[in-house]
Protein backbone atom coordinates (compact mmCIF):
# COMPACT_ATOMS: atom_id res chain seq x y z
CA UNK A 1 0.00 0.00 0.00
CA UNK A 2 1.07 3.55 -0.71
CA UNK A 3 1.06 6.21 2.02
CA UNK A 4 0.67 9.75 0.77
CA UNK A 5 2.51 11.93 3.30
CA UNK A 6 1.66 15.61 3.43
CA UNK A 7 3.97 17.70 5.58
CA UNK A 8 2.43 21.02 6.46
CA UNK A 9 3.01 23.97 8.73
CA UNK A 10 0.45 26.70 9.37
CA UNK A 11 -0.95 26.50 5.86
CA UNK A 12 -4.47 25.10 5.85
CA UNK A 13 -5.41 27.33 2.90
CA UNK A 14 -3.22 25.37 0.50
CA UNK A 15 -3.88 22.05 2.21
CA UNK A 16 -7.36 22.15 0.67
CA UNK A 17 -5.82 21.82 -2.80
CA UNK A 18 -3.96 18.66 -1.79
CA UNK A 19 -7.06 17.26 -0.10
CA UNK A 20 -9.19 17.76 -3.24
CA UNK A 21 -6.56 16.11 -5.38
CA UNK A 22 -6.63 13.00 -3.17
CA UNK A 23 -10.40 12.79 -2.88
CA UNK A 24 -10.59 12.82 -6.70
CA UNK A 25 -8.43 9.69 -6.99
CA UNK A 26 -10.24 6.75 -8.54
CA UNK A 27 -8.84 4.33 -5.97
CA UNK A 28 -8.99 4.20 -2.18
CA UNK A 29 -6.12 1.77 -1.78
CA UNK A 30 -3.87 4.34 -0.17
CA UNK A 31 -3.40 6.06 3.17
CA UNK A 32 -3.16 9.83 3.75
CA UNK A 33 -0.88 10.92 6.57
CA UNK A 34 -0.92 14.61 7.43
CA UNK A 35 2.31 15.39 9.26
CA UNK A 36 1.78 18.77 10.84
CA UNK A 37 4.47 21.05 12.25
CA UNK A 38 2.21 24.05 12.84
CA UNK A 39 3.20 26.55 15.48
CA UNK A 40 -0.09 28.46 15.41
CA UNK A 41 -2.80 26.45 13.64
CA UNK A 42 -5.10 24.53 16.02
CA UNK A 43 -4.89 20.77 15.53
CA UNK A 44 -8.69 20.70 15.07
CA UNK A 45 -8.30 22.35 11.68
CA UNK A 46 -6.00 19.55 10.55
CA UNK A 47 -8.26 16.89 12.05
CA UNK A 48 -11.14 18.35 10.04
CA UNK A 49 -9.30 17.55 6.80
CA UNK A 50 -8.54 14.01 7.96
CA UNK A 51 -12.12 13.43 9.12
CA UNK A 52 -13.56 14.71 5.85
CA UNK A 53 -11.15 12.51 3.87
CA UNK A 54 -12.24 9.55 5.99
CA UNK A 55 -15.82 10.43 5.05
CA UNK A 56 -14.75 10.01 1.42
CA UNK A 57 -13.45 6.51 2.14
CA UNK A 58 -9.79 7.45 2.57
CA UNK A 59 -7.81 6.16 5.54
CA UNK A 60 -6.48 9.44 6.93
CA UNK A 61 -4.74 10.59 10.12
CA UNK A 62 -2.87 13.56 11.58
CA UNK A 63 0.44 13.53 13.43
CA UNK A 64 1.65 16.73 15.08
CA UNK A 65 5.40 17.09 15.62
CA UNK A 66 8.00 19.85 15.57
CA UNK A 67 11.08 19.24 13.45
CA UNK A 68 14.08 21.33 12.55
CA UNK A 69 13.53 21.42 8.79
CA UNK A 70 11.23 20.24 6.04
CA UNK A 71 13.56 17.35 5.24
CA UNK A 72 13.78 16.31 8.89
CA UNK A 73 9.97 16.39 9.00
CA UNK A 74 9.71 14.26 5.87
CA UNK A 75 12.23 11.73 7.16
CA UNK A 76 10.64 11.54 10.63
CA UNK A 77 7.14 11.23 9.19
CA UNK A 78 7.84 7.82 7.65
CA UNK A 79 7.81 6.28 11.16
CA UNK A 80 4.04 6.76 11.14
CA UNK A 81 3.33 5.44 7.64
CA UNK A 82 1.40 2.19 7.50
CA UNK A 83 2.22 1.47 3.87
CA UNK A 84 5.40 -0.07 2.51
CA UNK A 85 5.67 2.80 0.06
CA UNK A 86 5.25 6.55 0.38
CA UNK A 87 4.97 9.63 -1.76
CA UNK A 88 5.53 13.10 -0.28
CA UNK A 89 2.72 15.25 -1.60
CA UNK A 90 3.35 18.26 0.59
CA UNK A 91 0.93 21.00 1.46
CA UNK A 92 -0.44 22.60 -1.72
CA UNK A 93 0.92 19.94 -4.07
CA UNK A 94 -1.46 17.96 -6.27
CA UNK A 95 -1.46 14.74 -8.22
CA UNK A 96 -1.67 15.19 -11.98
CA UNK A 97 -4.53 12.84 -12.74
CA UNK A 98 -7.29 10.97 -10.94
CA UNK A 99 -5.59 7.69 -11.84
CA UNK A 100 -2.09 8.67 -10.63
CA UNK A 101 -2.11 6.56 -7.45
CA UNK A 102 -3.53 3.55 -9.32
CA UNK A 103 -0.83 4.02 -11.96
CA UNK A 104 1.97 4.11 -9.35
CA UNK A 105 0.51 1.12 -7.49
CA UNK A 106 0.49 -0.86 -10.73
CA UNK A 107 4.26 -0.43 -11.03
CA UNK A 108 5.10 -1.54 -7.48
CA UNK A 109 7.00 -4.80 -7.64
CA UNK A 110 9.59 -6.56 -5.44
CA UNK A 111 12.56 -5.56 -7.60
CA UNK A 112 11.76 -1.83 -7.47
CA UNK A 113 12.62 0.58 -4.63
CA UNK A 114 11.81 3.92 -6.25
CA UNK A 115 9.31 4.95 -8.94
CA UNK A 116 9.32 8.41 -10.46
CA UNK A 117 7.83 10.41 -13.29
CA UNK A 118 7.45 13.91 -14.62
CA UNK A 119 5.80 16.96 -13.10
CA UNK A 120 3.97 20.14 -13.93
CA UNK A 121 5.28 23.29 -12.31
CA UNK A 122 3.12 26.40 -12.08
CA UNK A 123 5.23 29.49 -11.50
CA UNK A 124 4.23 32.49 -9.41
CA UNK A 125 3.37 34.37 -12.62
CA UNK A 126 1.04 31.44 -13.50
CA UNK A 127 3.15 30.19 -16.37
CA UNK A 128 2.95 26.42 -16.66
CA UNK A 129 6.06 24.31 -17.20
CA UNK A 130 5.90 20.65 -18.09
CA UNK A 131 8.92 18.62 -17.01
CA UNK A 132 8.60 15.14 -18.50
CA UNK A 133 11.59 13.73 -16.62
CA UNK A 134 13.94 11.20 -18.09
CA UNK A 135 15.30 7.75 -17.36
CA UNK A 136 18.02 7.15 -14.74
CA UNK A 137 20.39 6.12 -17.52
CA UNK A 138 19.81 9.39 -19.37
CA UNK A 139 20.27 11.47 -16.20
CA UNK A 140 23.50 9.67 -15.34
CA UNK A 141 24.72 10.23 -18.88
CA UNK A 142 23.97 13.97 -18.64
CA UNK A 143 25.92 14.14 -15.37
CA UNK A 144 28.78 12.08 -16.74
CA UNK A 145 29.40 14.32 -19.73
CA UNK A 146 28.33 17.65 -18.30
CA UNK A 147 27.15 18.65 -21.78
CA UNK A 148 23.98 20.13 -20.36
CA UNK A 149 23.40 20.99 -16.70
CA UNK A 150 21.15 18.79 -14.60
CA UNK A 151 18.75 21.67 -14.37
CA UNK A 152 16.06 21.58 -17.04
CA UNK A 153 14.82 18.09 -16.27
CA UNK A 154 15.24 17.86 -12.53
CA UNK A 155 13.04 15.27 -10.89
CA UNK A 156 11.03 16.72 -8.01
CA UNK A 157 10.28 14.83 -4.82
CA UNK A 158 6.50 15.19 -5.36
CA UNK A 159 6.88 12.89 -8.35
CA UNK A 160 8.82 10.16 -6.56
CA UNK A 161 7.36 7.17 -4.75
CA UNK A 162 9.81 5.56 -2.32
CA UNK A 163 9.88 2.13 -0.75
CA UNK A 164 10.13 2.98 2.95
CA UNK A 165 13.06 0.64 3.46
CA UNK A 166 15.00 2.74 0.94
CA UNK A 167 14.43 5.91 2.97
CA UNK A 168 15.48 4.09 6.15
CA UNK A 169 18.73 2.89 4.63
CA UNK A 170 19.39 6.06 2.61
CA UNK A 171 17.81 8.95 4.56
CA UNK A 172 16.65 12.12 2.88
CA UNK A 173 18.34 14.81 4.86
CA UNK A 174 21.85 14.28 6.19
CA UNK A 175 23.23 15.92 3.08
CA UNK A 176 23.70 19.32 4.78
CA UNK A 177 21.43 20.84 2.21
CA UNK A 178 18.49 23.03 3.11
CA UNK A 179 16.64 23.40 -0.17
CA UNK A 180 17.77 20.64 -2.48
CA UNK A 181 18.33 17.63 -0.20
CA UNK A 182 15.60 15.78 -2.13
CA UNK A 183 17.45 16.26 -5.42
CA UNK A 184 20.66 15.13 -3.76
CA UNK A 185 18.86 12.05 -2.44
CA UNK A 186 17.47 11.26 -5.87
CA UNK A 187 20.92 11.45 -7.47
CA UNK A 188 22.46 9.37 -4.69
CA UNK A 189 19.75 6.76 -5.20
CA UNK A 190 20.08 6.38 -8.95
CA UNK A 191 23.84 6.03 -8.49
CA UNK A 192 23.55 3.46 -5.71
CA UNK A 193 20.79 1.10 -6.83
CA UNK A 194 19.48 -0.21 -10.15
CA UNK A 195 16.04 -0.74 -8.59
CA UNK A 196 14.64 2.52 -9.93
CA UNK A 197 11.75 2.72 -12.34
CA UNK A 198 10.92 5.71 -14.53
CA UNK A 199 7.37 6.10 -15.81
CA UNK A 200 6.47 8.45 -18.64
CA UNK A 201 3.34 9.57 -16.83
CA UNK A 202 3.51 12.99 -15.13
CA UNK A 203 2.80 12.46 -11.44
CA UNK A 204 2.51 15.77 -9.62
CA UNK A 205 1.65 19.44 -9.95
CA UNK A 206 3.43 21.89 -7.69
CA UNK A 207 3.46 25.64 -7.37
CA UNK A 208 6.13 28.32 -7.17
CA UNK A 209 6.39 30.67 -4.22
CA UNK A 210 7.85 28.27 -1.66
CA UNK A 211 11.25 28.31 0.05
CA UNK A 212 13.10 27.54 -3.17
CA UNK A 213 11.57 30.62 -4.71
CA UNK A 214 12.10 32.87 -1.66
CA UNK A 215 15.74 31.84 -1.30
CA UNK A 216 16.48 31.58 -4.99
CA UNK A 217 20.22 32.25 -4.69
CA UNK A 218 20.65 29.55 -2.07
CA UNK A 219 18.61 27.26 -4.27
CA UNK A 220 21.01 27.88 -7.15
CA UNK A 221 23.96 27.23 -4.83
CA UNK A 222 22.49 23.88 -3.82
CA UNK A 223 21.50 22.86 -7.35
CA UNK A 224 25.01 23.73 -8.48
CA UNK A 225 26.45 21.76 -5.56
CA UNK A 226 24.38 18.71 -6.51
CA UNK A 227 25.39 18.98 -10.12
CA UNK A 228 29.10 19.28 -9.31
CA UNK A 229 28.94 16.51 -6.70
CA UNK A 230 27.73 13.99 -9.26
CA UNK A 231 29.40 15.20 -12.43
CA UNK A 232 31.75 12.84 -14.26
CA UNK A 233 35.54 13.08 -13.89
CA UNK A 234 36.02 14.27 -17.47
CA UNK A 235 32.90 16.39 -17.76
CA UNK A 236 32.82 19.96 -18.98
CA UNK A 237 33.09 21.59 -15.57
CA UNK A 238 33.73 25.12 -16.87
CA UNK A 239 30.57 25.14 -18.98
CA UNK A 240 28.54 23.82 -16.09
CA UNK A 241 29.89 26.47 -13.71
CA UNK A 242 29.22 29.21 -16.26
CA UNK A 243 25.60 28.15 -16.53
CA UNK A 244 25.00 28.49 -12.79
CA UNK A 245 27.19 31.56 -12.36
CA UNK A 246 25.11 33.31 -15.03
CA UNK A 247 21.96 32.42 -13.12
CA UNK A 248 23.46 33.64 -9.83
CA UNK A 249 24.74 36.88 -11.38
CA UNK A 250 21.39 37.64 -12.96
CA UNK A 251 19.67 37.32 -9.58
CA UNK A 252 22.21 39.52 -7.79
CA UNK A 253 21.82 42.23 -10.42
CA UNK A 254 18.02 42.28 -10.14
Amino acid sequence: MLTIITTTRDNTDELGRTFTSLVEQDTRSFEWLIYDGSRHTPIDELNHFADTATGHGISASVIHALDTSIYAAMQNSIKYAKGEWCLFLNCGDMLCHKSTIAHISKHIQPSVDMIYGGNIYIDVDHTVHYHPGSSPEKIKQVLETGETPYYYHMVCQQSIAYRLSLLRSLPLYPADLRLAADHNHFLRTIHSTPNVLFTNMPISIYFGGGSSHRYILNTYYEWMYNNIAFIGENAKLHDLCDHYLDLISSQIQE
Binding site: D176, Y221, I231, N234, H238
Partner: protein, 149 residues
Amino acid sequence: MHKTIILSVSREASKSSVYSFLRLYSTTRLALLTSDQLTIELILHLTLVKLHRLYSNGIYSSTQYHGFISQLLMLIRHSSLPSSGMRDLMKTVLKFSSKVMLAQSEYKAKSAAGLPASESVSINATLTHLIGAHGCQQVDQILGASYIA
Protein backbone atom coordinates in the same frame (compact mmCIF):
# COMPACT_ATOMS: atom_id res chain seq x y z
CA MET B 1 43.06 14.83 21.82
CA HIS B 2 40.94 17.07 19.59
CA LYS B 3 41.91 20.68 19.28
CA THR B 4 39.04 23.10 19.70
CA ILE B 5 39.07 26.26 17.66
CA ILE B 6 36.69 29.05 18.61
CA LEU B 7 36.31 32.04 16.37
CA SER B 8 35.34 35.14 18.27
CA VAL B 9 32.21 36.88 17.07
CA SER B 10 32.10 40.60 17.50
CA ARG B 11 28.73 42.29 17.40
CA GLU B 12 30.31 45.63 16.69
CA ALA B 13 30.40 46.96 13.18
CA SER B 14 33.98 48.04 12.89
CA LYS B 15 36.13 49.08 9.99
CA SER B 16 38.79 46.64 11.07
CA SER B 17 36.38 43.71 10.56
CA VAL B 18 35.82 44.80 6.99
CA TYR B 19 39.53 45.36 6.39
CA SER B 20 40.46 41.96 7.78
CA PHE B 21 37.86 40.34 5.54
CA LEU B 22 39.11 42.18 2.48
CA ARG B 23 42.64 41.10 3.40
CA LEU B 24 41.49 37.49 3.58
CA TYR B 25 39.62 37.89 0.31
CA SER B 26 42.69 39.20 -1.49
CA THR B 27 44.73 36.44 0.15
CA THR B 28 42.28 33.95 -1.35
CA ARG B 29 42.84 35.46 -4.77
CA LEU B 30 46.59 35.10 -4.35
CA ALA B 31 46.25 31.61 -2.92
CA LEU B 32 44.38 30.51 -6.02
CA LEU B 33 47.56 31.19 -7.98
CA THR B 34 49.37 28.53 -5.99
CA SER B 35 48.95 24.84 -6.55
CA ASP B 36 48.74 23.90 -2.87
CA GLN B 37 45.09 22.96 -2.60
CA LEU B 38 45.19 22.50 1.16
CA THR B 39 46.41 26.07 1.64
CA ILE B 40 43.79 27.39 -0.76
CA GLU B 41 41.03 25.46 0.98
CA LEU B 42 42.05 26.66 4.44
CA ILE B 43 42.22 30.31 3.41
CA LEU B 44 38.99 30.01 1.48
CA HIS B 45 37.25 28.53 4.49
CA LEU B 46 38.48 31.26 6.79
CA THR B 47 37.31 33.84 4.27
CA LEU B 48 33.87 32.28 4.26
CA VAL B 49 33.70 32.24 8.06
CA LYS B 50 34.70 35.89 8.17
CA LEU B 51 32.17 36.76 5.47
CA HIS B 52 29.45 35.01 7.41
CA ARG B 53 30.39 36.94 10.52
CA LEU B 54 30.15 40.27 8.69
CA TYR B 55 26.79 39.23 7.25
CA SER B 56 25.29 37.94 10.49
CA ASN B 57 26.42 41.06 12.36
CA GLY B 58 24.69 43.24 9.81
CA ILE B 59 27.89 44.85 8.55
CA TYR B 60 27.32 43.37 5.10
CA SER B 61 23.91 43.20 3.49
CA SER B 62 22.46 40.08 1.94
CA THR B 63 23.28 41.48 -1.50
CA GLN B 64 26.90 42.09 -0.51
CA TYR B 65 27.11 38.62 1.01
CA HIS B 66 25.79 36.91 -2.11
CA GLY B 67 27.95 39.18 -4.26
CA PHE B 68 31.08 37.97 -2.50
CA ILE B 69 29.99 34.33 -2.68
CA SER B 70 29.46 34.81 -6.39
CA GLN B 71 32.90 36.43 -6.73
CA LEU B 72 34.55 33.58 -4.86
CA LEU B 73 32.91 31.10 -7.22
CA MET B 74 34.08 33.19 -10.18
CA LEU B 75 37.63 33.27 -8.83
CA ILE B 76 37.67 29.50 -8.54
CA ARG B 77 36.10 29.10 -11.97
CA HIS B 78 38.82 31.24 -13.59
CA SER B 79 41.71 29.78 -11.62
CA SER B 80 44.14 27.39 -13.24
CA LEU B 81 43.29 24.62 -10.81
CA PRO B 82 42.85 21.12 -12.19
CA SER B 83 39.29 19.91 -12.57
CA SER B 84 39.21 17.85 -9.37
CA GLY B 85 40.59 20.71 -7.24
CA MET B 86 38.19 23.20 -8.78
CA ARG B 87 35.28 20.88 -8.09
CA ASP B 88 36.30 20.43 -4.44
CA LEU B 89 36.62 24.17 -3.83
CA MET B 90 33.33 24.91 -5.54
CA LYS B 91 31.66 22.36 -3.29
CA THR B 92 33.27 23.95 -0.21
CA VAL B 93 31.86 27.38 -1.07
CA LEU B 94 28.45 26.12 -2.12
CA LYS B 95 27.96 23.95 0.94
CA PHE B 96 29.06 26.72 3.27
CA SER B 97 26.64 29.17 1.64
CA SER B 98 23.83 26.78 2.32
CA LYS B 99 24.85 26.34 5.96
CA VAL B 100 24.85 30.09 6.46
CA MET B 101 21.23 30.28 5.45
CA LEU B 102 20.41 27.46 7.81
CA ALA B 103 22.16 29.20 10.69
CA GLN B 104 20.48 32.50 9.87
CA SER B 105 16.98 31.07 9.68
CA GLU B 106 17.44 29.17 12.96
CA TYR B 107 18.77 32.31 14.62
CA LYS B 108 15.78 34.33 13.42
CA ALA B 109 13.31 31.62 14.48
CA LYS B 110 14.83 31.41 17.95
CA SER B 111 14.92 35.18 18.32
CA ALA B 112 11.29 35.44 17.25
CA ALA B 113 10.33 32.79 19.81
CA GLY B 114 12.24 34.64 22.54
CA LEU B 115 14.74 31.80 22.93
CA PRO B 116 18.44 32.40 23.50
CA ALA B 117 20.18 32.27 20.16
CA SER B 118 23.86 31.95 19.47
CA GLU B 119 25.38 33.67 16.48
CA SER B 120 28.62 31.77 16.73
CA VAL B 121 29.69 29.82 13.72
CA SER B 122 30.50 26.22 14.44
CA ILE B 123 33.59 25.24 12.63
CA ASN B 124 32.94 22.07 10.76
CA ALA B 125 35.10 19.02 10.54
CA THR B 126 36.66 20.17 7.29
CA LEU B 127 38.07 23.31 8.79
CA THR B 128 39.21 21.53 11.93
CA HIS B 129 40.93 18.99 9.72
CA LEU B 130 42.54 21.68 7.63
CA ILE B 131 43.72 23.61 10.66
CA GLY B 132 45.10 20.40 12.11
CA ALA B 133 46.93 19.71 8.87
CA HIS B 134 48.52 23.16 8.86
CA GLY B 135 49.14 23.67 12.55
CA CYS B 136 47.69 26.57 14.44
CA GLN B 137 50.58 28.92 13.95
CA GLN B 138 49.73 29.48 10.33
CA VAL B 139 46.12 30.22 11.21
CA ASP B 140 47.41 32.73 13.74
CA GLN B 141 49.28 34.49 11.00
CA ILE B 142 46.16 34.74 8.89
CA LEU B 143 43.60 35.76 11.45
CA GLY B 144 45.75 37.66 13.91
CA ALA B 145 44.13 37.92 17.32
CA SER B 146 40.61 37.21 16.17
CA TYR B 147 40.52 33.61 17.31
CA ILE B 148 41.29 31.63 20.42
CA ALA B 149 42.88 28.20 20.10
